[in-house]
């Protein structure tokens, strides 16, 4: 188009099809799609041919065959006479177990670390820094193997290391004192339900008041406090009326060959949990720290100038804004922890990957096993990110 002739009507210009971006776009995509399909078809047909020769055509029928191998720990009932399908579910639940507990503990430790890194106490700040720099520069697998080897150094069960009478370390794992429901538990639960109902009613009433008066305010912490207070009151009242505490601490007592009471976790689980929590907490700590630093100083000063107390400043001004920065990277750390739990295979904790590997070794059905494995990890990842994205949207709204 020459500069001097601006009035050429569009559509009149004759563009050859090989210079028309709309047509090129379609051609490129068709060629790309054909290429991808051809490559996938090539790989797939090779695989099927190879497997047919080895008489191992992929099938999911093995899922209903008895597995025949034991799994050292399980959330649901399992024994070797149950099917491969059941074994796989056991693996998924074991992964979920370590991931959920790990995420909670890593968040707590990470929060502490993040705040410690910003402390005005020189010693605390630097101890936290040293911890961070040591842990994040050493491979997680090495750390897991280290913790696992350490738990195996513990003495025999008869000579367990006693930590305050509540925790016992021995070469089979760690035995912990654990809360246990007594027969007054049901009576107390009524109080707990009442507390929850009262808390919800209080929350709703306060929110309506806030909206009516068009003023901001917090209701949730007080609602939780009220619910907690009712539950605690119920705890006492139940004890006074029935003479039994609704929940008692089951303290482990050493018998001849084992502990009676409490809960015992295997050393694989303990090592995996400790390793994952210590490793992930470092990254969460750095996220928390940068989130708090990302809130500009002016915000804090303005809040103080408006007469907010330091506590209110933190709760109403700093934290809501920091959370917006913190949540997205936090989500990916949670996903990392879940994915990293697959290293359990190195320390014999029967997680999803470990069980899938065993199933593959026994059946030779690599393709279905890998498909199931990937589908499981992807759905766990998807569920976690859906939840975190929902939460992220919720706190994003607070801003407006």
């Amino acid at each position: 188009m020459a500069v001097g002739s601006p009035s050429v009507p569009p559509g009149k210009i004759n563009i050859p099809f090989y210079r028309d971006t709309r047509i090129i776009a379609i051609i490129v995509q068709v060629v790309f799609a054909i290429l991808v399909i051809a490559v996938v078809w090539f790989l797939y047909s090779n695989m099927i041919n190879g497997l047919r020769q080895a008489n191992l055509l992929p099938t999911f029928s093995f899922l209903s065959v008895p597995a025949g191998f034991p799994i050292s720990e399980s959330v649901i009932e399992y024994d070797p006479s149950m099917t491969y399908g059941r074994a796989f579910v056991v693996g998924i639940l074991n992964t979920v177990r370590v991931a959920v507990i790990g995420i909670i503990l890593a968040t707590l430790l990470g929060l502490i670390l993040g705040i410690a890194r910003l402390s005005d106490n020189w010693l605390l700040r630097n101890v936290a820094l040293v911890y961070v720099e040591i842990v994040r520069n050493v491979p997680l697998l090495l750390q897991l193997i280290f913790w696992f080897s350490l738990t195996r150094l513990f003495p025999r069960i008869q000579e367990s290391i006693d930590v305050g009478g509540l925790m016992f370390l021995h070469n089979r794992g760690i035995t912990l004192a654990w809360p246990q429901a007594s027969n007054a538990f049901g009576a107390w639960m009524l109080w707990v339900y009442a507390g929850i109902v009262i808390g919800i009613v209080f929350y709703v009433v306060r929110r309506i008041q806030f909206v009516r008066r068009d003023r901001p305010g917090v209701a949730l912490p007080y609602a939780l406090l009220i619910a907690l207070a009712v539950a605690l009151l119920g705890f006492l009242v139940t004890y006074l009326t029935t003479g039994v505490w609704p929940v008692s601490l089951s303290v482990p007592v050493l018998q001849r060959f084992n502990f009676e009471g409490g809960v015992t976790v295997t050393n694989s689980f303990a090592a995996l949990l400790i390793g994952l929590v210590i490793y992930t907490a470092v990254f969460i700590g750095e996220i928390v720290r940068s989130g708090i630093l990302a809130v500009s100083k002016g915000q804090r000063e303005a809040a103080r100038a408006l007469g907010l107390t330091p506590g209110q400043t933190m709760r109403l001004v700093i934290l809501p804004q920091a959370l917006r920065v913190i949540i997205p990277p936090l989500t990916s750390q949670y996903l990392n922890l879940t994915k990293n739990s697959s290293l359990a295979i190195a320390i014999a904790y029967p997680d999803l990957f470990y069980v899938a590997n065993t199933i593959n070794n026994q059946t030779g059905q690599a393709v279905p096993v890998i498909l199931m494995l990937m589908a499981s990890y992807l759905s766990v990842s998807l569920l976690t990110s859906l939840f975190m994205n929902w939460y992220n949207r919720r706190i994003q709204l607070v801003e407006r």
Binding site: F32, N121, N137, P139, V367, L373
Partner: protein, 410 residues
């Protein structure tokens, strides 16, 4: 303003002088809870440090790591061929030194850092045992020569100046195949089977391969994900999210089990190649996301200006957006390299013997069975230190590049 303003008599700002007591009060005992934290932490730190030091002094297992240093570094690589890893390393350091002379700045800092570390390792290497039939240089001599090589080539390149730039870029591109050729053999050199490779050599090789080979793939995926063509975009999004959704071990597992099935005659593909393919495919997805971050940081005006100047889509991408995007994500890529360097330890799960695998093998050697408690603490501590030095140094470099980029923006 034309009016003359009398300059105020200059006076120095009052110097802030804090005595020891004042410092302690301010930094350790400012409030009652800080005082408690300080005392409790001090007790824990003193306890931990003294017991750790006393353990280190008395620990019986140190010989396990130090007599087996060859296994940790190269595993079962033939002793009479050890000059080859040394030559490969010297080649890379030579290129690094030359680049330091040409580009200066952070590259020089990296080169001098490497030289300093080489000298350090050189001194430590006096304690290493000599190997029988050794045709390579003794460790200490080699490390000192490496330091000399770095500094010398830096000086040389400074003399030669900018005209080295393009030859150097080409040399870097060729260095990867050259290193593989030196290590594996061929073209007259005797072949060293990859199943003999291991230790730190394998760890570094996997991490570098992962980054180098995944780079083109990752950039393409990043561009594809931002493409306006739906078929390509959907494919790239699916690939990236699929890989990022599963753990690395799953991908390694797939590489080990499925790759031989996918390719006719694939059983003969050796385990190292399978691992490298898996690591590359895995790393590409993460690299794509990092590069996409860089692409997104480029203002739209850049692309519009390029289009207005008459550049077509390819020219705009290659000459305008990609160079800026890649420069912006260099620190993130270093971070990814560190992560990959640590993550390659997972190959022990599929049976390769990297640094961690070598350590595990040494711990299991029968001659240490009599040592009370085993030698795993000492051995693992040594390899943890090796991993740590590498990762920590690289993270410092990444921080430095990041600061430089931030400064150049203002």
């Amino acid at each position: 303003m034309a009016t003359e303003v009398s300059r105020p008599t200059s006076r120095r700002a009052p110097r802030q002088q804090i005595g020891l007591i004042e410092w302690l009060r301010k930094n350790l005992f400012s409030t009652w809870y800080n005082a408690i934290i300080t005392i409790v932490l001090l007790y824990i730190v003193v306890q931990a440090v003294t017991s750790f030091v006393s353990w280190m002094v008395t620990a019986p297992g140190w010989p396990a790591a130090f007599t087996n240093i060859k296994l940790l570094l190269t595993w079962t690589y033939p002793v009479d061929q050890l000059w080859r890893p040394q030559a490969a390393m010297a080649l890379v350091l030579l290129l690094l030194g030359l680049s330091a002379g040409v580009w200066g700045g952070t590259v020089r800092m990296v080169a001098f850092g490497a030289a300093a570390i080489s000298v350090g390792i050189g001194f430590a290497a006096f304690t290493f045992p000599d190997l029988p039939d050794q045709t390579s240089l003794p460790g200490w001599l080699f490390m000192f020569l490496c330091a000399g090589l770095l500094v010398g080539s830096d000086q040389l390149a400074r003399r030669l100046g900018k005209r080295l730039r393009w030859p150097l870029i080409i040399a870097w591109l060729l260095s990867y195949p050259a290193v593989i050729l030196i290590l594996r053999g061929g073209l007259g050199l005797p072949i060293v089977e990859t199943k003999l490779w291991g230790g730190l050599l394998l760890t570094l090789l996997l991490a570098i391969s992962g980054i180098v080979l995944s780079f083109p793939l990752g950039v393409l995926l990043a561009l594809g994900r931002r493409s306006s063509l739906p078929v390509i975009r959907v494919f790239c999004v699916l690939y990236i999210e699929l890989i990022r959704g599963v753990p690395l071990v799953t991908v390694l597992f797939m590489g080990a089990l499925l790759l031989p099935l996918f390719i006719p005659g694939g059983e003969s593909i050796d385990a190292l190649v399978r691992a490298i393919v898996a690591v590359t495919l895995f790393s590409a997805a993460y690299l794509a996301e990092n590069v996409r971050g860089g692409l997104q940081s480029i203002p739209k005006g850049q692309i519009e200006a390029a289009r207005a100047l008459g550049l077509n889509v390819f020219q705009t991408t290659l000459l305008i957006t990609l160079p800026q995007a890649l420069r912006a994500v260099v620190p993130v890529l270093v971070g990814q390299f560190i992560a990959l360097f640590k993550d390659t330890s997972l190959v022990v799960i599929i049976g390769l013997v990297d640094l961690l695998g070598a350590a595990q093998n040494i711990v299991g050697q029968p001659q240490w069975l009599g040592t009370p408690g085993g030698v795993w603490r000492e051995t693992f501590l040594v390899i943890a230190a090796i991993y740590w030095v590498f990762s920590f140094t690289m993270s410092r470099i990444s921080k430095r590049i990041e600061d430089q980029i931030a400064r150049s923006r203002h």
